[in-house]
Amino acid sequence: MVSDPRSRGVIWLGSPAFPEAARTALADEQLRANLKRATGTIRDKRLAVAAELDDWEELRDSAAAIKKRVSRHLDHYLLALEASVTAAGGTVHWASDAAEANRIVTELVRATGESEVVKVKSMATQEIGLNEHLAEVGITAYETDLAELIVQLGDDRPSHILVPAIHKNRTEVRDLFVAEMGHWGQPAPEDLSDDPRELAEAARLHLREKFLTAKVAVSGANFAVADTGTVMVVESEGNGRMCLTLPETLITVMGIEKVIPTWQDLEVFLQLLPRSSTGERMNPYTSTWTGTTEGDGPRDFHLVLLDNGRTDTLADETGRQALACIRCSACLNVCPVFERTGGHAYGSVYPGPIGAVLTPQLVGVENAASLPFASTLCGACYDACPVKINIPEVLTHLRVKAVEGKGRASAEALAMKAAATVLDSPRLLAAAQRAAALGGKVLAREGRIGRLPGPLSGWSDTRDTPAPPAESFRTWWRKNRKEERP
């Protein structure tokens, strides 16, 4: 079944193109300072713990190789996963897009007779807009990850994969807790301060009530092992563990690319993921479950396998490497663009460099055409990626598609075509250089050009440009060197 890419969720409808969306964050100096501090801290921690492993590069190669194998044989591993999950007492559902996944989850929740679910932090359910969909049909979803709770209470959007409330400072969080927690359940104490310990305690009390009453939980998955049917969630707070063990029904929504062949492959990923993500050797809580177990944990387990544009992505030989992503967010933390703009500018649940290559592929490049250009191609993301996704390579690849979408007659395409003609001819290039030197003479004051017109004004607003010299290198060479040589 082919679905309309725009109906796949992923992007926030109505979001402006990246350059415009970035303006808000760029103008907010406090936000930029917060982002710089937060990403800088985690960046240093990651480098320190990665340096502890002398086989770090080999681990990255292994992870890339495993993910490459999975993408090449995805059909095989998914069927194997379905068989092993079913054999272990779980039920597997297949969802081709967001709408189908939401429908499946809704029916499963309704079958339990419940109207509330607790949620483990999950990118896949955000991608499909599950909470909003459930709300429309009268089911309340409670986010239990602390940062996701902050986002939910603020009716806000996540701005980072790992720390979705990175754009909020603790005073803003305190105000939000005091104003909003009471509407969702246990209220925050009125004299709550912005001390992180007090904030955590207020969240703990608020969430404990949910954990003890919830009958249904919804989660995502970091990994699912094809040959054993084991599903894994990696987290820091233990709130995920509560959701995964206390309720009677567990529904996991997982992108199809999260399957890995064998249990042993986890050896590679569990060394890479915590180090790349939080900069820790190991994360505090790693929960694994295999189907259902009598008298232990949920009685019913449902695994919803989500496509939502992934098969389309898989069809692109260069672009498919984006499916190797393990959502560690190392690329966000090292990205000089993300550090300045924050996550909201990307207009998607997947921000930062990985978002710039994943979002356009999931929804179609024409629906997110500014994202592949939201990068200087500095390469910091590629160096940091634990599964070696060559993000700059995918970016330039997607730029070709974005340009093709605009047509060969756009002003930019025509200018590029003209430039290509000049640049493929030493004679025309020399003529252009003479013209530039003349033009520079007209425009320049004391050898420097100030303001430039049209689309170049963004450049010349903050930079002087040296006037092109009277003599190009090739002219100098002709005059000074060429005649000396036979």
Partner: protein, 246 residues
């Protein structure tokens, strides 16, 4: 050894001095440099902006122009990176097997200027004299593309009279990114402001790099901000001598 200079269209037009500096250093070291005039551009702007097809003829031209040389030297890390990384890709996508073979054979002979000096010629002291406080900005293509490592610093440290000072957050992108500086001008400006602040904090009198494109951006910002730090290509520092200061 037949050495050819690949000046790059950008330097040819805007920074001919950097090309003259490369020629000057190599001649001082006893080499003859040729400048095949059929050369033009590596196609980086087209490739990085999404116009790969327009870049394809430039790959053919580059391979043809430089086929006969033992070494092709260029004072641009990003153009060297473009040629070595992406010309094989473009040859595969748009060319025939003859072009692919020609490109593959040529690639190992294409060198960025500091690579050529340190790795091919085995030189770190080029006999330069430059009595200034200098900061080196490792451009992204130098650092993460070509992995130049400390080659530029080794060359600079050997320059007589030169004091190499640390540039804070040196490995952070300056925000140029080719057409990024135009398409995402606001983000680029903020990144530029952080970089010029770092240059000021370094106390340098001169900022150098292995690429004039980033220097155009950073230097343009410094100039607009009324700062007197001079930006110049590393080759010009290496060309400078006591008798003939650059």
């Amino acid at each position: 050894m037949r050495v050819a200079l690949f000046i790059t269209c950008f330097n040819d037009t805007l920074f001919p001095g950097s090309g003259r500096a490369v020629v000057s250093v190599l001649e001082r070291l006893g080499h003859t440099v040729d400048f095949p005039t059929e050369q033009t551009c590596c196609g980086q702007m087209h490739f990085n902006t999404g116009y790969r097809r327009d870049a394809a003829p430039l790959v053919t031209r580059f391979a043809r122009t430089f086929a006969e040389y033992d070494a092709v030297v260029t004072p641009s890390a990003s153009c060297a990176g473009m040629v070595r990384e992406n010309h094989p890709l473009l040859a595969e996508q748009y060319g025939d097997t003859a072009l692919q073979r020609q490109v593959d054979e040529l690639m190992p002979r294409v060198h960025e200027f500091t690579e050529f000096l340190t790795d091919v010629l085995g030189v770190t002291d080029v006999g330069a004299h430059f009595p200034r406080r200098v900061a080196y900005h490792p451009t992204c293509h130098s650092l993460r593309g070509l992995r130049l490592g400390d080659r530029p610093q080794r060359l600079l440290s050997a320059v007589d009279g030169l004091e190499l000072v640390d540039l804070p957050s040196a490995d952070s992108c300056c925000g140029f990114g080719g057409t990024f500086a135009v398409k995402n001008a606001d983000t680029s400006n903020v990144m530029l402001a952080d970089k010029t602040a770092a240059v000021r904090a370094s106390g340098a009198e001169v900022l150098c790099a292995a690429d004039n494109s980033c220097l155009l951006h950073i230097g343009g910002g410094l100039s607009r901000q009324g700062d007197r730090v001079r930006s110049m290509h590393l080759a010009e520092i290496l060309a400078s001598t006591e008798g003939e200061p650059w």
